[in-house]
Subunit: 207 residues, 4 copies
DNA sequence: CATGAATGAGACTTCATTCAT
DNA sequence: TATGAATGAAGTCTCATTCAT
C-alpha cells in the first residue's frame, strides 16, 4: 500500500462516457456513504453500485481517498453556491435583513443532504483534504468580514475578523445542530423560530 | 442493520495488576489516537504501546470500539467534572457573571486535552458512541436550562429549552473553534477578548 | 444460537481462470483434509496449497465451512453417480441379484477415496453440513424404498420405509467398516465373502 | 504450543477435594460439549463452568485433550457396563433370546446420553484417543465372538470373527441411526418394532 | 479503455497454556 | 495448592490496488 496515494482526479474525463462514469462513481460513493456508512464503502462495492468495474474506478480515481475527496468537493460546492448567492443578494441590505437571510441560508445549506453532511464531517479529517475544506471556511469568513466592513458604520466598534469568527461560529453551530439533531426540530414553524432567535442573537451582538 | 458488538468493559479489574493494565490500555489508546490518528489505532498497536499483549487487551475490552468508548468516557468525564463544578458555583450568580464563568469554563474544558478533543470530535465514527456522548450533551442542556429557569425573572420571556439550545450551541462552538483553530488564538489576551465577546453575545441574547 | 455463516459458493466462476481457481481450492482442501486433518485445514494453508492467495479463496468461498461443504458435495456427488446408476441397472432385477449389486456398489463407493471418506465421516463438525448430507441420505432411502415397493410381492409383508431404514443402515455400516477398517480386509476374496454375507443377511431379512 | 501434550491425568486425585474438582471438570466438559459444541469448549470456559480456575484445571489435566479423553472414557465405561452385564446375562441363552437382549441393550446404550454420544463420535478422531476407543470396540467384538463360538452348534457354519463383524456392524448401525436420527423414531412402540426387526435380521443371518 | 480475477498485508479476535502472587 | 492475569501464536476474513486478458 503506497503511503500517500495521490488524491487528484487522474484525467479530465474529456469524453462524454468518461464523464458519465465519473459521475456515477461519485454518486455511488455518496450513496454508499449515506446508506451504509464509511466502513462499507469499499472500492469494489463502489464500483459495483456505480455499475462499472474496479479497474475503471482506478482509471478515473487514483485512490479511494480521491473518490471521497470528490464527494466532499461536490457537496461543498453545492453549499457554496447557495452561500455565495446569498452574500451577493445581501451585500447592500441592512444588518437585520442580511443576518436573517444568511441564517436562513445556513440552515438551507445544511438541508441539502444532511446525512451526507454528517458523514463527511466525520470523514474530512481522514480524507487528507482538510486544506480544501478550510479554503471554503476561509472564503466564508472573508465574505462575512467583507460584509461587516462594508456596514461597519451601523455597528458598534469591533474588529471585523473577530466579529466574523463569532458570527460564523454561532450561525454554523446552530444550523448544524438544528439539522443534524434530527426530526424533532424540523417543523416549518420551529425553523422560523430558530431563524428569529439566531438573528436576534447575532444582530444584538453586532450592535 | 449492523451487528452491535458490545462496548462496555468486559470485566472489572479487581486486582491491582489488572487495574494498571486497564489504565495502560486506555492511556495507550488515547495517545495513539492523538499521535497517529484513528486509522493507526489497531488493537495490536494499542496493546503494544500499552506494554501488554493483545490477549490482555481482550481480557478487559471486548472490542476495539470498547476501548475507544472508554477513552471518550474518560475525556467526557474530565470535562463534566469542570462543568458540573462551574454550574454549582454559578447557580446563584447574576446572569452576566454566570455566563462569563461558564464561557470561561467551556474554553478551559476544551483545553484539557485539545488534541484528543479534536480527534474525538472529528475522527471517531459516531456510530456506536452516540449514546454515551448524547448523555453528556443532555446533561449540559439540562444544567443550562435549570439555571435559566431559576433566573427567568432577569431575562426576557423565552422558552428555557430553546434558550438552552441556543446558548449551548453558541458557547460550545466558539470554545471549540477557539481551541481547535490552533496556536494563533491562544494568547492570554485573546482568550480574554473571546470570553468578553461571547459573554456579550449570550447575555445580550438572553436579556 | 450460532450465527450461520453462509456455506454456499460466493460467485459463479464464469471465466476459465476462475474455474481453475475454484477447482484448485476444493482439491487443496480435500488433500489437506486427508493428509493433515481438519485442524490443519486453515484458510491460509488451503490457499497456499492451491497456489492462490487467501483473497482469491474468499472471492469464491465465503468461509472455510463453504470450502468443506464443497468437498463434501463433490465426494457425495461422486458416490451418488455410482449409486444412481446402480439403482437404474437394478430396478427390474430380482431381489437377490439386486441386493448383491447394491452391496457391491456400496463397497465400491466407499472405495472412491477412502481416506477422504473417513475424514468426512469422522472428523468434520456436523453442524452446518447436516442439510447437504441429509439430502443425499434421503435420496438413498427413497431409492431403496422405491425398489422395495416395486418388488413387494417377492417379499414378506413389511413397511417399506422401515425396511429401507434397516437395509440402508446395514449395508452402509458394513461397507463403511469394511473399507475404513483398513488394509486387513481388502483382498479381492475377502470383499467377495463380505458381499456374499451381506447379501445373505439382507435378502434373508426381506424374505 | 507443544506438539503433543500428554493426555493422561496428572495425578491420582488422592484427596477428596481433588476428586470433586476432577469430577466437576469432567462434568463441565461434557455439559459444554453437549450444550454449546466443541468450539465453545475452551479450557477457560470449562474451568469457569466447573467453578474452578484455569490454573486448577491444569493441575489435574495436562491439556484440553486429556479432558476430552476423560469424558470419552467416562462415557464409554458407562456403555461398557451395560454391555458387559448384558453379555453375562446372555451367555447361556439361545440365539433368538440373546440377540434380542443385545439389540435392546445396544439401543439403551445409545440412549445413555445421545447428544454426548453424537459429539464424541465426531471428536474422538481428533482427540488422539482412537486407541482406547478401539479397545472397547475390540472388546465388543471379542464378546460377540465368544458367544457365537459357544453357540456355534445352533448356527450354520460360519467364521466367528466374520459373523461377529457382521453382527456388530449391523446392530451398532441400527442402534446409532435409531437414536441419533432424533425424535421421529423414539416412541416405545417404534423401538419395539426396531428391536424385532433387527433381531429377525441378525438371527436370520446366523441360522 | 474496460474487465474482474488475483494479490497479500494487515485487521480483529480467540484460546491453550504459563506463572507470579 | 489455588488463582486468574498475562501471553502470543495462529486463525479468519477484508479490502485497496494491480494487471493479464
Amino acid at each position: 500500500m503506497a503511503r500517500k496515494p495521490p488524491t487528484t482526479p487522474r484525467k479530465k474525463a474529456s469524453q462524454q462516457r468518461s464523464r458519465a462514469t465519473v459521475e456515477a462513481l461519485v454518486e455511488a460513493t455518496a450513496r454508499i456513504l449515506v446508506r451504509e456508512g464509511f466502513e462499507k464503502a469499499s472500492t469494489n462495492r463502489i464500483a459495483d453500485v456505480a455499475g462499472v468495474s474496479v479497474g475503471s474506478l482506478y482509471q478515473y480515481f487514483p485512490s479511494k481517498e480521491a473518490l471521497v475527496a470528490a464527494v466532499i468537493d461536490r457537496h461543498n460546492e453545492a453549499i457554496m453556491r447557495l452561500v455565495r448567492a446569498a452574500f451577493a443578494e445581501v451585500a447592500d441590505l441592512p444588518i437585520e435583513k442580511a443576518v436573517r437571510r444568511l441564517v436562513t441560508v445556513a440552515i438551507e445549506a445544511h438541508h441539502i443532504d444532511p446525512d451526507l453532511h454528517r458523514i463527511l464531517a466525520e470523514q474530512i479529517p481522514r480524507s487528507g483534504h482538510l486544506a480544501e475544506v478550510e479554503a471554503y471556511s476561509h472564503e466564508i469568513h472573508a465574505l462575512v468580514r467583507a460584509y461587516l466592513e462594508r456596514h461597519r458604520k451601523d455597528m458598534r466598534k469591533i474588529d471585523p475578523a473577530l466579529a466574523a469568527f463569532m458570527c460564523v461560529s454561532t450561525i454554523e453551530a446552530i444550523a448544524h445542530n438544528t439539522v443534524l439533531n434530527g426530526a424533532e426540530m424540523l417543523s416549518e414553524k420551529m425553523v422560523k423560530v430558530l431563524v428569529d432567535e439566531t438573528t436576534r442573537m447575532v444582530v444584538g451582538y453586532l450592535r
